[in-house]
């Protein structure tokens, strides 16, 4: 007989990404046309 496991709590609202600013320097040369 297996013991019942607690069901994980699933957050219906999900997670937000947390981007960083500053990963590229303002002095970095452009790689592509931005727009």
């Amino acid at each position: 007989m297996t013991e019942p496991k607690d069901k994980p709590i699933v957050d219906p609202d999900g997670d937000d990404e947390e981007p960083k600013s500053g990963d590229q320097s303002p002095e970095d040369e452009p790689e592509e046309n931005p727009e």
Partner: protein, 278 residues
């Protein structure tokens, strides 16, 4: 209302991130820290005067990670908490709400991608990069990269930026990069921002029919734990605290509010269903 009711129009000292000016060897990757330093000064009416370099040193990554040397808004908030400055960090906030908060006197550290600036006089970076700026009331954006270097780039002088330009740049914020190099961006009309304290607004919370997670949280440690998934046929509207960021035991970040009344009094619930009452 403005953070400095007794000093209307107070603005912090502009802080350029350029290592040649700031003396900060890591200045070029510290746009978030420099914007945050100006936000802290604004929040406290000049009471907390930190340099961007100091803010960086207070963060969870005092030495920039080689693979990802920048900072995010949660790291900035955590760093400034150590000086008693508590920013209101908001993810995916509608632009109209951002503009309303700035217009009523709050300052905001705004994350954006600089592409839309490149063909304007406000150009402050060589290419299109994720960046952070401090936006005070009046929209005279304090861009820490706007130092006028080599007469190629904008030099901060308090000139208001067109709101539409900022809105476009905010919506192009790069959230992540896929393996094939393509980028996931925030959408036009939304912002990632961290606001200075608002001493006037109240907040309410209400959830329609559906599910949400109830949380337990510690405001001193900023840690939270899920209690259970709550199913509701719709709640009444009750007062709550302003949104704050908390960390789950597995390292995820949650934006929560604490209920001040009603059936969930003193429980923490998702801030996505909260509303600011100006």
């Amino acid at each position: 209302m403005t953070a400095c009711a007794d000093r209307p129009g107070y603005l912090p000292r502009f802080q350029p991130q350029n290592p040649a000016i700031s003396g900060d060897d890591n200045g070029w990757v510290n746009c978030t820290a420099y914007s945050g330093a100006m936000a802290a000064a604004y929040d406290t009416c000049g009471g907390v005067n930190l340099t961007g370099e100091m803010v960086r040193s207070l963060s969870s990554e005092p030495r920039p990670s080689p693979g990802s040397p920048g900072l995010n808004l949660r790291q900035l908030d955590d760093a400034l908490n150590r000086y008693g400055v508590d920013l209101e960090v908001r993810y995916r906030l509608p632009w109209a709400d951002f503009a309303r908060k700035i217009n009523k006197g709050e300052g905001g550290v705004l994350q954006l991608e600089t592409g839309p600036f490149l063909n304007t006089k406000f150009k402050s970076t060589a290419g299109a990069v994720n960046h952070a700026v401090f936006v005070p009331p009046g929209w005279g954006v304090m861009d820490p990269a706007a130092d006028g270097r080599r007469n190629l780039y904008w030099e901060y002088d308090g000139t208001p930026y067109p709101q539409e330009l900022l809105k476009r740049a905010a919506g192009r914020l790069i959230l992540s990069t896929n393996r094939d190099g393509s980028k996931n961006r925030l959408d036009y009309g939304y912002v990632y921002a961290a606001f200075t304290r608002d001493r006037r607004s109240t907040w309410t919370w209400q959830h329609g029919p559906g599910k949400f997670v109830l949380w337990r949280a510690n405001d001193a440690t900023r840690e939270c734990t899920a209690i259970k998934t709550q199913v509701t046929g719709g709640t009444k509207r009750h007062a709550c605290t302003p949104p704050r960021l908390y960390r789950t035991p597995d390292g995820r970040t949650k934006l929560l509010v604490r209920m001040l009344a009603g059936a969930y009094k003193d429980k923490y619930v998702p801030a996505a269903y909260s509303e600011e009452v100006p």
